[in-house]
């Protein structure tokens, strides 16, 4: 009989593999805040727009995820862009129009839009 700890460590390593497969292999990962406060600030529209952009532009290397609220209430919606070999950037007060620009400038042209970044 394996102990609870053995069972859990097995469960954890499976979960880690899953996380690696589903997220880490993507070179570009964008996380949109998703809590009551974020949604009230319009995070859902930003998320939907991202999904649309991904489809339109066939950005297969892009992973879109959600997270809870990190605590920057006055600057929501917050979007975090993580790219290989680049500093992760948090963009604040995002809108569907702004996120389009972020994908174009940051993800495609590798240029951080500093005035929108935290």
């Amino acid at each position: 009989m394996s102990s609870p700890l053995d069972r859990l460590i097995h469960m954890q390593s499976e979960a880690k593999n899953k996380a690696t497969e589903s997220k880490l292999r993507f070179p570009v990962r964008i996380f949109v805040g998703n809590a009551t406060c974020e949604n009230a600030a319009g995070a859902v529209h930003v998320y939907n727009e991202l999904v649309k952009i991904k489809e339109e532009q066939k950005l297969d290397e892009l992973y879109i995820g959600r997270t809870g609220c990190s605590g920057r209430c006055d600057k929501e919606p917050i979007v975090q862009v993580m790219m290989d070999n680049r500093i992760p950037t948090k963009y604040f007060e995002m809108t569907p129009e702004k996120i389009r620009k972020v994908v174009e400038e940051h993800v495609i042209n590798h240029h951080v839009i500093t005035e929108w970044a935290l």
């Binding site: 469960m11 880690k16 996380a19 009551t36 997270t67 809870g68 605590g71 290989d84 500093i87 992760p88």
Partner: protein, 598 residues
Amino acid sequence: MKKDYKYAISVCAGSKCVHLNNELIDIILKEIQRQGLEDQVKVTKSACLGYCEEGPLLVIHPDNITYARVQKDDIAEILSEHIKNRRWVTRLLFHRDQIANSFFPQFGDVDFFGKQYRITLRNCGVIDPESIDDYLAYRGYEALAKVLTVFSPQQVIDEIKRSGLRGRGGGGFPTGVKWQSGHDAVGDVKYMICNADEGDPGAFMDRSAIEGDPNTVIEGMIIGGYAVGASKGIVYIRAEYPLAIKRLQIAIAQARERNLLGNNILGSEFSFDIDLRLGAGAFVCGEETALIASIEGKRGMPKPRPPFPTEKGLFDKPTVINNVETWANIPVIILDGAEHFASMGTEKSKGTKVFALAGAVRNTGLVEVQMGTTLREIIFDIGGGIRDDKAFKAVQTGGPSGGCLPSQYLDTPIDYNSLMAAGSIMGSGGMIVMDETTCMVDIAKFFLDFTQNESCGKCTPCREGTKRMLEILIRITEGAGQPDDIDKLLRLGTMIQKSSLCGLGKASPNPVLSTIKHFRHEYEAHIFDKKCPTKTCKSLLTYTILEDKCIGCGLCKKNCPVKCISGEKKYSHSINQADCIHCGVCFSTCKFEAIIRE
């Protein structure tokens, strides 16, 4: 070409270290090639982690292990040991692999997060709250498994006692002591309850914590159940938090699927399950005996204690109730050890506390700081100071039951005792900052109006006393204050504090008493001079038109709802003070600043 990388090494590349670390990155890339790990490892840069003195820092994902003071010669060892052999290079480990604050590197934004230390909120804003895999990948449920494998229930309780954790819902009762009496109580069935009935105006700690990381609350409850010997847990959460409820339901269902809830958890002898009960949103139901009554299907009203819920609680069975934040601390205490938790904070208050920073600060938001941090650090460093460069006036801690503290308390290190001594309370963590334009009488009226509305009506001091106090406050703000009103408020307030049945009543006069203590002159200005110093209380304001500035455009006259302004077009107008209702419409419509308000 897309590769299935297994690991990512993230190198701190803040502006201070970027040159130094670019060199390091080159070395890492070469070493990766030399060891033939190109297909497994990729290198990324991270923003400044704020620990420059510990740099250069490397973070390895998905293990989330941070190495500090990494030198060029260490790279080969880190790659071969950590990546190939899956052994951490312990001599370089930063914070010795703690779970607390482990995501610090990812938060970025050093101004806001730099002074924070995240235990309960460690995963918020980082992991996907709807995926138990995400939680598991970052050492989720490891504390539970550890407890089930190597701890006896009494050892768990001892560990919590040693950590010095106190109830985060506001009361500050030592959690370990509460668990001990639940453990010692005799009963065939015992209950664990999570109090997620967060009702303070301007507070959102529990909602955010659950929405960001529901699993940690569940894990804490299971550990508590094991320690106390309970088989049933209930989360009492208000129905107006639909997203938090949904995420809890998802987390509970996923935990059941993996045998983390239910019978024989992880193959052990221990069984435990959790249900949700939705509250209708009564403030008094945050009080534990009222909460129990509400779960039982009765009207939510408090009962005198003793008997305490740990002896005779839900359905007369031994019951342990803790707040969301308290539960979320438990897994971290178990994994990082009681000593680590107790090393933070002040003598009598250990660990961290989450505050919902709101009001007139630049950065409103959810902050988690070590106990003993000063109000100044929270408001001016993390909060970024007062909005619009106004002057700080007061800070209200502890929600409607707390007191307002003026600037001389800014350097008080925050803990349960220091706030109590200053005439306020820790409460569940609301923190409302007020600038110079806030009228303290008006704010006291606002909070008392809230508690008065929420009084359940069971005991007379709270039901009648708060009502009378509110009437006095209303008449003061309307210019009908009487000379002995301040004394009456003080007498009523202390009487209510001493004789109310539950915490709601006992704490309800705090906003009034603390504002009288620190801002008595404002009350006196309202009562004796019939003036509101901050020009907030409308009834006390008079509006006058300046003859030399008025050009006679007629805009104020047109907009006045009671038609008390007279004057010919292109000639100076005037206000008939007897008919004026002090609405202020003329003041805000005038385009020539010809109307003054005093």
